[in-house]
């Protein structure tokens, strides 16, 4: 009787086991399909195309191995794009971090209009940068732009900001910082809210009651995880900058503002060298994945330590 019971139980278990597995696959199926179609297959396709000399719309193509990559290394425009992107990231990330943190501290220390300040600084992040780029273009216009008119009015030298090799990249970095600032600000404000008041009280009793001491003892260490997150997000966004280059400079003058994604776009869709563009995409992907991996490692070691 009891043995029979056991056998029945086992059969039931096996049956429900396989049914459960089937149901499981059925449930992850759609997601798996989408990931495959939307991410893995395109990435594979890009890798494959990068190894060919395919031109967009061409009926034939031939496999050329790593030739695209070797010619990329010798390509002056691509090297400029690589250098400009790095310089742009190095300008945007630190300034966003410092300005965002300073603004967050200022807003948090004030008593009134906090929501208002938060909102106006977050606005640039919410609006389309394409539209805002046109506003910036008007502001930076060499003769009728507000920037030059103000500078001239106070007797400072003016410049053709977007048409000069020396100023174009810093100006783009200013616009990029202006746009990322809101995000950094909101994240820092949330981080500041999460610092327990008792920690400030303890610091005050321990003697760390000056502004700098308090920053060093409580605020900055407590914000370290948030700062890291801000760096990751702003850095990835900066690496993927495309719209302001496309609208304001088209990479000019003389490739002084060409960046990785713009170079990719230009090769693929203006010169129609799809294989070459795919090679740039591969390099872009490798850089971004490497950065993300490094940062994840840093985050992990930090969180496991503290």
């Amino acid at each position: 009787m009891s043995q029979q019971q056991v056998v029945v139980d086992r059969e039931l278990w096996v049956e429900t086991g396989s049914a459960e597995a089937l149901a499981g696959y059925a449930l992850v199926g759609p997601a798996l399909f989408l990931i495959l179609v939307l991410f893995i297959l395109p990435a594979g396709a890009v890798l494959a195309i990068a190894a060919t000399d395919w031109h967009l719309g061409a009926k034939t193509l031939s496999f050329i191995g790593t030739a695209n990559f070797t010619s990329l290394l010798a390509d002056r425009a691509f090297r400029a794009a690589l250098f400009n992107t790095a310089a742009y990231v190095l300008m945007v990330v630190p300034s966003t971090l410092v300005l965002g943190l300073s603004l967050a501290l200022l807003i948090e220390s004030g008593k009134s209009l906090r929501a208002f300040y938060r909102a106006i600084h977050f606005l640039p992040f919410m609006t389309s940068l394409a539209a805002m780029a046109i506003v910036w273009e008007a502001l930076l216009h060499p003769t009728i732009g507000l920037v030059n008119q103000v500078l001239a009015a106070v007797g400072l030298p003016t410049a053709n900001w977007l048409r000069s090799e020396t100023t174009v990249l810093p100006i783009l970095a200013v616009i990029g910082t202006w746009q990322s600032l809101g995000l950094a600000l909101v994240l820092f404000l949330a981080g500041l809210k999460a610092i327990p008041q008792e920690l400030y009280d303890a610091a005050e009793i321990d003697g760390a009651d000056g502004l700098l001491d308090r920053l060093q003892t409580v605020t900055l260490p407590s914000l370290a995880p948030v700062s890291l997150f801000v760096v990751i997000v702003v850095m990835l966004r900066a690496f993927a900058t495309f719209d302001i280059v496309q609208i304001l400079t088209k990479g000019g003058p003389d490739d002084a503002s060409v960046m990785l994604l713009y170079a990719l776009y230009r090769e693929s869709f203006e010169y129609l060298r799809t294989g070459y563009g795919a090679a740039i995409a591969v390099i872009f992907l490798v850089i971004v994945i490497a950065l993300a991996a490094i940062q994840t490692r840093v985050v992990n070691t930090r969180t496991s330590r503290s």
Partner: protein, 388 residues
């Protein structure tokens, strides 16, 4: 000598008045507990003593010096917080060294690389290190010095917080519910350790808690705070046996004291819950009086009589050595609680009639306005004991 002197402190936040003219003298070396329900202002008072909050009026003196306009770090007080408030990014030894570094090194000397090159910095740092090590050893946390707070248990964090306060030898320790984040067993152990620490250091402790057991077991004196005022300051024994008023009597003691409305019948008799209590004629009761009887002041009795209450047993709670009998008596909505010897358990059944004799020498009388009625110095019991 006075350790901390609190004179007429008032504080309100917006329209909410938190403290109303608090005055309190805390002796040098005394362990004084501020006890009260949440929202009574005890933590605010502690924060005002520490300098973390500015009072609206009144003055604070620490060791005879007015500290009203001194910043917290200049007040010679140290504080242990409920959440311990350890700096999460610093190790235990860095946490404990911070108050000393802030006091003994200038901002320049504290700079990471440049600071170490300045004269004297190295010797001061060594000195600080030695003192931290000595304090850590005294607290039994010397093996934890290189750990981060997140790697410590609750009890260990508690000790580090105490160590950070101890290391600078303050005149006054302020503790804001330091044990409330610990589990019950550890709380009992830390209670003993803090008491022992107080004995060893011999400095003034001001301890805030809402837990009456902590207050009763650790304190030299307890200041009961109710609605922003000090209701009574006395030793734990006095607070329990001779509460100044009805609210104090209700706050202290678990289970709560039984309070019964009684009507004077003249001739020193009180009509209470269907029975009669014989009381002292000397006291002027007015129209009504409340009798407070602690659970242990009720004894099992075989029959009804003078000074004996009769009611229906609702249920029994066993707490090990004793049992608590909850008895419905006429004229009272809440059941009367009596602490009875556990041997009676077999004789008690729900819904049975139970007689309880009041141990008159321990009962308390309160007037209609909540004041305790007492003869003379407040030590003498207002009820006359009748030998049967």
């Amino acid at each position: 000598m006075v350790g901390v002197s609190v004179r007429g402190i008032s504080k309100s936040f917006g329209s909410a008045s938190i403290l109303n003219g608090i005055s309190l003298d805390i002796c040098d070396g005394e362990f004084l507990t501020l006890l009260g329900p949440s929202g009574c202002g005890k933590s605010t008072l502690l924060r005002i003593i520490a300098g973390l909050e500015q009072q609206d009026c009144g003055t604070i003196e620490v060791a005879g010096i007015k500290v009203d306009h001194l910043r917290p770090k200049l007040r010679d007080v140290a504080m242990v917080f409920q959440s311990y408030a350890l700096y999460p990014h610093l190790t235990v030894s860095e946490n404990m060294a911070l108050p000393l570094r802030m006091r003994r090194l200038s901002a320049w000397q504290r700079l990471p690389v440049i600071g170490a090159l300045l004269p004297n910095v190295r010797s001061v740092c060594t000195e600080i290190k030695t003192e931290v090590a000595r304090t850590a050893k005294a607290l039994g946390i010397d093996h934890l010095l290189s750990r981060k707070p997140s790697q410590l248990s609750g009890g260990q964090r508690q000790r580090v917080a105490v160590g950070r306060a101890m290391v600078r030898h303050p005149a006054v320790f302020l503790m804001d519910e330091p044990l409330s984040n610990l589990d019950a067993k550890l709380r009992v152990q830390m209670r003993g350790e803090i008491k022992e620490l107080h004995r060893r250091l011999g400095v003034t402790f001001v301890y805030v808690t809402h837990d009456q057991t902590e207050a009763m077991t650790m304190s030299d004196r307890v200041a009961v705070m109710l609605d922003g005022q000090v209701a009574q300051v006395a030793s734990p024994r006095q607070i329990y046996a001779c509460p100044a008023d009805r609210r104090v009597a209700e706050l202290i003691g678990a289970p709560k004291i039984n309070l019964l409305e009684a009507a004077p019948r003249g001739e020193g008799l009180l009509a209470i819950a269907g029975s009669t209590l014989a009381v002292d004629n000397v006291l002027d009761f007015g129209d009504s009086v409340t009798v407070g009887i602690r659970p242990e002041s009720l004894q099992f009795a075989d029959r009804a009589g003078l000074n004996t209450l009769t009611g229906r047993l609702r249920y029994v709670e066993h707490v090990g050595a004793d049992l608590f009998a909850y008895v419905d008596v006429p004229g009272s909505r809440e059941p009367l609680v009596a602490r009875l010897p556990v041997e009676l358990a077999s004789r008690l059944q729900s819904d049975q009639t139970l007689h309880l004799r009041v141990r008159c020498e321990q009962a308390l009388l309160f007037s209609a306005d909540g004041r305790r009625l007492s003869e003379g110095d407040g030590q003498v019991t207002p009820l006359r004991s009748y030998a049967e």
